[in-house]
């Protein structure tokens, strides 16, 4: 139980073991663990970055969607406006056309009426003339009695 040369051997053993442990165990394993730590840190920061980017993209998507909605609304309201304009136009045009047709029909009618009246008048005048001829039994000089005839015709 006393101190002896075993001490020297144990010192050498201890030094050797420190060297071996450093070379075989501590060196590679601590390097591996450090690398892994670094990898994990990198992964975490990458995930963080990805999350941030996702947030940005989501925000951008929302913006784009909002824009698109707005635009669609615009287009829709414009189309509606344009549609009502067209309908309005068509209405106006139809009314105009109807008026026009009505007017032309009226004109034609009037023309027809006046023509019929003219014909009637002529017929009546000739009837009157022939009747007067018969009454007077002689030929009436149309030229002489033209004035009288005219007044007659007009009074019919």
């Amino acid at each position: 139980m006393s101190i002896n040369a075993t001490l020297l051997i144990q010192i050498i053993a201890f030094l050797l073991l420190i060297w071996f442990v450093n070379k075989v165990l501590w060196g590679p394993l601590s390097k591996l663990m450090e690398d892994r730590q670094k990898k994990i840190n990198d992964g975490l920061s990458a995930a963080e970055k990805g999350k941030h980017e996702l947030e940005l993209a989501e925000k951008r998507a929302k913006d784009v969607l909002k824009d698109a909605k707005l635009q669609a609304q615009n287009v829709l309201s414009q189309a509606e406006k344009r549609g009502s304009e067209i309908v309005e136009d068509a209405k106006v045009k139809a009314v105009e056309e109807a008026d026009r047709i009505k007017a032309s029909a009226q004109a034609e009618l009037e023309q027809e009426v006046s023509r019929a009246r003219e014909e009637l008048r002529k017929e009546i005048s000739s009837l009157v003339v022939s009747g007067a001829e018969k009454i007077l039994n002689k030929e009436v000089d149309a030229a002489v009695h033209n004035d009288m005839l005219d007044t007659l015709v007009k009074s019919i």
């Binding site: 139980m1 006393s2 101190i3 002896n4 040369a5 075993t6 001490l7 020297l8 051997i9 144990q10 010192i11 053993a13 201890f14 030094l15 050797l16 073991l17 420190i18 071996f20 442990v21 450093n22 075989v24 165990l25 501590w26 060196g27 590679p28 394993l29 601590s30 591996l32 663990m33 690398d35 892994r36 990898k39």
Partner: protein
């Protein structure tokens, strides 16, 4: 075999040589074998290191490594690549050598006596119950303390530390004595604490073994043998704590002492 004889036999190393040039063969062989075990296991592990998802044993070793490096980071200022492997070596080796204490006290000596055919062959299996082992480690630590003291403070600074520490320049002789005691007590306390704890633990195991061995004769064995088993188990569980604690203390104090050596005054 009498009680005293039994204990003395267990506490004698298997040695060759005389005087200072005595070699405690059992201490040397067991500690070398345990050291070789560490190196072999480490080398085998080193070949199949897995970076991504480490398996069971690698996890275990990594947790020890993590434990040691956490202690180093907590107790050691600055950075020195030697400290962590040194601490790891101390922790693992001391723990393994202490663990030999938990093997039943008579088992290995008995097997050894069977193998050698010498019924009186000595075998003391716990290297840390040999003062030479603990003192050897403490001496290495002491050497490192001296080396880093001189390296970090300079030779002049180291001498100054002896002259003016702790009481200032008016108490130079007192300071020298105080600092000398302080420095020398570091390795001595390291070596003696581990040795004392393990030696006492071994002794208690021997005393417990004696209960069944010598006191139990005939029908009394029915009482003494279970008592021995229970006591042995209790002391074993307690001692499992002790051997881990002692390995831990040796490691932490080494880190702290070397940290103190690195500090500039």
């Amino acid at each position: 075999m009498g009680t005293v004889e039994y204990i003395q036999h267990h506490l004698t190393n298997n040695h060759i040589g005389e005087g200072f040039w005595t070699f405690n063969l059992d201490t040397i062989v067991v500690s070398f074998l345990l050291g070789a075990l560490i190196v072999l296991v480490a080398a085998r592990l080193g070949k199949q290191l897995e970076s991504g998802t480490p398996g069971g044993f690698q996890n275990f070793v990594e947790s020890i490594l993590d434990f040691v490096s956490t202690n180093v980071r907590d107790a050691f200022p600055g950075h020195n690549p030697l400290i962590a492997p040194l601490a790891l070596t101390i922790f693992v080796w001391v723990w393994l050598m202490n663990f030999m204490d938990l093997i039943p006290v008579d088992l290995l000596p008995y097997l050894f006596q069977l193998v050698t055919g010498d019924s009186h062959a000595y075998l003391k299996v716990v290297p840390t119950t040999d003062l030479n082992t603990t003192l050897a480690m403490a001496a290495v630590v002491f050497g490192l303390i001296l080396y880093y003291n001189i390296k970090c403070k300079g030779l002049l600074g180291f001498i100054k530390m002896f002259l003016f520490h702790p009481f200032g320049k008016f108490f130079v002789p007192v300071n020298v004595v105080m600092t000398f005691i302080e420095e020398v007590s570091k390795p001595l306390s390291l070596a003696l604490r581990l040795f004392g704890n393990m030696f006492a633990g071994e002794l208690v195991f021997l005393l417990i073994a004696l209960i069944g061995g010598t006191l139990a004769v005939g029908a009394a064995a029915l009482f003494w043998a279970p008592l021995q088993a229970i006591l042995d188990l209790a002391w074993l569980i307690f001692h499992l704590l002790v051997i881990t604690l002692q390995a831990f203390i040796f490691m932490v104090l080494t880190i702290v002492y070397l940290g103190m050596a690195h500090e500039e005054h």
